[in-house]
Symmetry: C2
Subunit: 337 residues, 2 copies
């Protein structure tokens, strides 16, 4: 029994005008689909993550309960399991890979749901960070197919400041000697370590560091945290894949498609799902202010910030029990609504 499944999509047309001869969508399911096919939850992956990185949230006592729901984690294009620079074959191998957008991600996911499982409507699209970008795209692109959305620490359109954060990451990674101008010819160790350090400053909050919460996680010092948590997180990833997902993030905009033609108000206004918009109060790049502005444009949205010192990671609180409980309560309410 494989650890996860793969749906192959022949001649998959990408939004930006190239076609993958054989797109690969890797996914994993948890729990069972009921006969009415009404208990499906879609839980897309976040930046740099693969399904084993985010499924801690699934459990009988977890935020998503597989004894009641059929939970599907589709791996995002570029993440190394679905079609990605690291696994594409010629002519798209190596550094010459196509841009993937979230339109591509949700289009493939929609085919997975309908063609493999016969699911026409989701009980919930749940996501954190880039995962929630995909959940919001679902709400705008398939309004009738999503009953509920939980968008945790994310945005419907990447903000200018968030873009600058990503430009810093990209600049550091491509400063490495292994970067040749269009690809990496070796593992950019220095670039990956710098990438981790930059990310560490943004993904938590000033308060997290002020309170030395990294010590409570078992790290012996700030440097220990930076090396063993942040550098380690990215050293194990393929650098071309990291750049590919960064580009997806930079281009994330639920209105950037034929249906909405760049009209963000229209795209957000089209979301029919009951939507929980849950920024973290201290998130530095998906700010509560930006989330609130987007929530105002979604007809059935509730704005419910997570009060936490954990910054962006408050929305992925595998090690923060208080934040976990906050999310669990909110999602239970949403699912019973």
């Amino acid at each position: 029994m494989p650890e996860y499944d793969i749906l192959t999509l022949p001649n998959f047309r990408l939004q930006r005008g190239l076609t993958l001869p054989e797109a690969r969508l890797a996914y994993k399911t948890y729990g069972s689909l009921n006969s009415a096919k009404s208990n499906a939850i879609l839980y897309p992956t976040s930046y740099g993550a693969q399904h084993p990185d985010i499924d801690w949230l699934i459990g009988p006592d977890g935020i998503l309960d597989p004894t009641r729901y059929f939970i599907i984690i589709p791996n995002m294009f570029g993440n190394g399991l679905s079609s990605s620079p690291s696994n594409l074959s010629e002519p798209f191998g190596g550094g010459r890979y196509p841009v993937f957008t979230h339109v591509d991600n949700v289009t493939a996911q929609r085919r997975l749901l309908t063609e493999v499982f016969g699911i026409e409507q989701l009980a919930l699209a749940y996501g954190w960070s880039m995962g929630a970008q995909q959940a919001l795209h679902w709400g705008a692109l398939y309004p009738e197919s999503v009953q509920r959305i939980a968008a945790v620490c994310s945005s419907a359109r990447t903000s200018p400041h968030n873009l600058v954060f990503l430009e810093g990451l990209q600049g550091a990674l491509t400063a490495d000697p292994a970067w040749t101008g269009d690809r990496f010819t070796a593992r950019p160790e220095r670039g990956l370590r710098a990438f981790g350090r930059i990310y560490a400053g943004w993904a938590l909050s000033q308060a997290f560091y002020r309170q030395h919460l990294y010590l409570e996680l078992g790290y012996s010092s700030l440097e220990d945290f930076l090396i063993r948590d942040w550098e380690a997180s990215f050293l194990r990833r393929d650098a071309n894949n990291l750049l590919s997902m960064l580009e997806t993030w930079k281009q994330s905009d639920i209105s950037d498609n034929d249906r909405y033609g760049g009209d963000l108000n229209a795209a957000l206004g089209a979301i029919q799902a009951k939507t929980l918009v849950m920024p973290a109060s201290t998130d530095l790049y998906f700010t509560a202010e930006d989330s609130q502005a987007e929530a105002r444009l979604i007809p059935q949205a509730q704005f419910r910030p997570i009060p936490s010192a954990w910054g962006h990671r408050a929305g992925n609180p595998s090690r923060s029990p208080v934040d976990q409980q906050f999310l669990k309560t909110a999602i239970a309410e949403l699912l019973s609504a």
Copy 2:
């Protein structure tokens, strides 16, 4: 007539245990010292800056008035005009340069004031960012010699989160192919451009970008702003010098010296000057919260945050008239107190 002056200090002992055979302190003065020597203002430089970068603030209608005050800008060690990696000779040339601390900076500045000008007491030590770190060091190390301090967007001790920001900058710069492990052998163009992009995300605020204030500055796009403002700012600097000043910042702590032995409360409590602590409300690395906590420990401090969307740059508002006026009013009140 030279554009600026240089004080040479033979056998200058540095805090970390090396001695410069000939330390060089570059400085520039504005206005005239009165006969009582009671109208001196010290205005040290900030990160990456040299005196021409910060003297826009000096003028008859400016924040510091040279018709009433004798204003001295001492260039920080490492900034390329005072002793720096770029101008030290063997055995300290190239990458083998000593660590400079703010104790070194203020020790040299004190000698400049007393030995060259006979100034025993400053009317004001004014600084922004790393300049204010030096002003606060003055208050703790020479309490009787400073009547007033204006510490704008800064800290007395570098906070853990601020340190992580600096780690990201350092990682990106030293990811460049020109870095050999202890020095740069050529100009690290990629690293410098990445450095600028990372800095851009931190030195302004989310609100600055949300409001597209870079367009009001005359830039045609976000990318134009990143290239022509931020990349340009660092491309013109020597990379070894940038690393040297980064180290000074990382180690900045007014209690890290023989007098206070690491006791921050004691060091802040020793400041006798009337002190204005002025963070920007949206500064992302010298946060208002951190500044407020430090201000509480300074006996005669007033905490007066600058309400602005300009983030860290609110404290260096050459292009933000409202912030300039706020600072001007505050400094005028401080000087008349």
